[in-house]
């Protein structure tokens, strides 16, 4: 069930009304949300609901075992077993085909490979996200971040809660499970903020992202050899705007829906293309994933505590695995490696003690140059992230050297590109001012205004609903 569909609209309004009518009874309220989450997931494919249930149940049981164990060694064993099972599940569904293909290719270099059918299980929707939630639950239990004993029902709902189930944000068990312990308070619902988030998210997804995808990016990435420099450049910038609007749009809708249900989700994007260095970029882009990788991978690897070489290797490992998490393909590995390289170069640049460089780093002009450089470095990485193969990626990069005009630069495309890239500079105070202003409107009129906004979005968006980019991760 995609967010910008009638099906989801009907589903969500029904869930919202029933959930709030049950809010005084915390147990039934949570049970209802859990069943609604399974229904939401089952709408895609019922046969994978048992997998979701088993992963959540397993992580809940392991978290309970960890909390109940007094021996540190035993706690470590439980955690290790839990993480291995979760990663094995992810590996089976996501990387089996990739692993077999690589193995056969390597085999073919030394001998004639056996003729076997490469197993390729259907990738369960959002498996990377719910497996990361399951790991977060066990890790937080191990680190003692969960103050209260984990209840199985809470663990099931934490992993399967529908607004974040398919494409995040990746919630921490330590921030979400405490919200499940007490009944939701209707007085804390921020209706205006939630609706504004949903409307903004729908606009980003349905209008900007879909327009850029259908009118620009898909055409150029499908056959880059038929376009010249102008269109190739436009498509690369277009994809940067498309992926930002697609994913941050999804996150905005998810946060807005959760807010209407009375739950708080963390912010997942913070004007990422305004970052001045790669480290800053990863503090602004998919914040929940980058902080997850930092806390559960980079720091356990040693973080920046060792030598410069050790820190660089930790950064590279983290980014390579982060790239692989996005998809089982070499293009994703290269994308991760590029970002690892950017982070290492930035650390080296920052550690140069030469006075003129230190002074240069502090100037406003340099900050803008750095912002521009980083944006283009990120765009370069997006080429590998988006391209289905290296051939396409290199063909597109090669087209940047072939003279050509902007044949795809129509008014809607340019407007969407501008809004997609410049929209993130929208001052937060504008949205807050609008939120405050709406409080003075008659309540019924507010609802009507949101409906008119959604109507306008539906008119402006291209026909059909493209799936969110992050659904396949």
């Amino acid at each position: 069930m995609l967010f910008p569909t009638v099906e989801f609209g009907l589903f969500f309004v029904s869930v919202l009304l029933i959930a709030w009518s049950l809010h005084c009874f915390n147990g039934p309220h949570k049970l209802f949300l859990l069943l609604a989450s399974y229904l939401f997931y089952g709408f895609w494919n019922w046969s994978y609901v048992p997998l979701l249930f088993c992963i959540s149940l397993f992580s809940g049981l392991i978290a309970q075992r960890i909390q109940a164990s007094s021996s540190q060694r035993l706690r470590k064993i439980w955690l290790f077993a839990g993480v291995v099972v979760c990663l094995a599940t992810l590996g089976y569904y996501k990387y089996t085909s990739f692993f077999f293909t690589i193995s056969l290719e390597l085999w073919a270099r030394v001998a004639r490979p056996p003729s076997i059918t490469i197993p390729s299980p259907l990738l369960p929707l959002g498996v990377s996200f719910f497996v990361f939630h399951a790991i977060s639950l066990m890790m937080d239990a191990y680190r003692g971040k969960l103050k209260q004993a984990v209840r199985l029902g809470d663990a099931l709902l934490y992993v399967a809660f529908f607004p974040q189930l398919i494409a995040g944000p990746i919630l921490r068990a330590s921030s979400f499970i405490p919200q499940l312990t007490s009944p939701r308070n209707p007085a804390t619902i921020r209706v205006n903020r939630a609706f504004l988030l949903i409307v903004a998210g729908l606009f980003k997804k349905v209008v900007i992202s879909n327009l850029l995808a259908t009118r620009l990016v898909e055409q150029v990435f499908a056959a880059p050899q038929t376009f010249g420099r102008g269109d190739a450049l436009l498509a690369i910038y277009g994809y940067a705007a498309q992926i930002y609007c697609d994913f941050s749009g999804y996150t905005d809708i998810a946060i807005g829906c959760a807010m209407l249900l009375g739950y708080r989700f963390p912010r997942n994007f913070n004007a990422p293309y305004s970052a001045t260095n790669p480290q800053d970029f990863w503090r602004r882009w998919h914040i929940s994933l980058s902080s997850w990788l930092r806390d559960y991978l980079y720091i356990p690897l040693g973080g920046s505590r060792g030598s410069a070489a050790r820190t660089s290797s930790n950064l590279m490992i983290t980014m390579l695995l982060g790239g692989l998490w996005h998809g089982a393909g070499w293009t994703f590995v290269i994308w991760g490696a590029l970002h690892g390289f950017y982070l290492i170069v930035h650390r080296i640049w920052n550690s140069i003690p030469w006075q003129p460089v230190v002074q240069l780093r502090q100037t406003v002009a340099w900050r803008w140059i750095a912002r521009l450089l980083l944006f283009h470095a990120v765009c370069f990485g997006w080429v590998f992230f988006r391209a289905p193969s290296f051939d396409i990626a290199f063909a597109l990069l090669h087209r940047l050297t072939i003279p050509g005009v902007f044949t795809l630069a129509s008014v809607p495309v340019m407007l969407a590109l501008f809004l997609g890239l410049a929209g993130q500079y929208e001052p937060l105070r504008w949205r807050k001012a609008l939120e405050c202003e709406l409080r003075y409107w008659p309540t019924l009129l507010r609802g009507a205004a949101f409906a008119v906004a959604i109507f306008a979005i539906e008119l402006l968006g291209p026909s059909g609903v493209a799936p969110f980019i992050y659904f396949r991760f």
């Binding site: 009638v6 309004v13 919202l16 009304l17 709030w20 494919n45 390729s120 299980p121 259907l122 990738l123 209707p186 007085a187 804390t188 619902i189 921020r190 209706v191 205006n192 609706f195 259908t214 009118r215 209407l260 129509s410 008014v411 809607p412 405050c436 409080r439 003075y440 309540t443 019924l444 009129l445 507010r446 609802g447 009507a448 949101f450 409906a451 008119v452 959604i454 109507f455 306008a456 539906e458 008119l459 402006l460 291209p462 026909s463």
Partner: protein, 182 residues
């Protein structure tokens, strides 16, 4: 202190009521179209009946005019992703005629879609329009083999006909969910 007051449950319900009424008024035609494209089944029948009834009740208000005008204006601006619609809008704009880009009537009729200006209800009982004597009133199709109980009947639909009857979505979903097609 007014600005600091958060919304209560009753306010949430009122906002949802306002939202629902407005969206039904503005989108009743689009909802009917959505229902007609659902996978064939009991749920789709209920959805078509409900949205059809809703559209029949709301149609006299002519609120779908806002939608059509909006789409026509967007077509004139070159916003539509359909080149035929854009060209038609430009042609009609140049001739100074009022712009109402209508979906292909034949396709809409096949899909049971309401053609702008005619409700779904009138489609079921179309008005008699005088036809040229040479226009064929029916097309003779080769008879289908009789249905055998327990045996599936295969009907081949391709391209636009699949889109027209709204089977592209279910087909796409089936294709996606079939392990052999991954």
């Amino acid at each position: 202190m007014r600005a600091l007051k958060y919304n209560s449950l009753s306010q949430l319900v009122t906002v949802i009521v306002g939202f629902t009424i407005t969206i039904l008024l503005l989108e009743s035609e689009a909802l009917l179209r959505w229902a007609q494209r659902l996978e064939v089944g009991e749920a789709a029948n209920i959805a078509v009946q409900t949205t059809g009834e809703l559209h029949r009740v709301l149609q006299p208000l002519h609120i779908e005019w806002a939608r059509r005008e909006g789409l026509a204006d967007l077509d004139r601006l070159g916003w539509s992703d359909d080149p035929a619609r854009r060209q038609a809008a430009q042609r009609m704009d140049a001739s100074g005629a009022s712009v109402h880009i209508q979906p292909c009537a034949a396709m809409a009729a096949t899909a049971g879609l309401p053609v702008p200006g005619r409700s779904a209800v009138t489609l079921l009982h179309p008005a008699r329009i005088p036809l040229s004597p040479s226009t064929p009133t029916s097309t003779l199709l080769p008879p289908l083999a009789a249905v055998t109980k327990g045996q599936p009947r295969v009907v081949a639909l391709a391209g636009d006909s699949m889109m027209a009857v709204g089977l592209s979505d279910p087909k796409g979903r089936w294709f996606k969910s079939s392990p052999r097609n991954q």
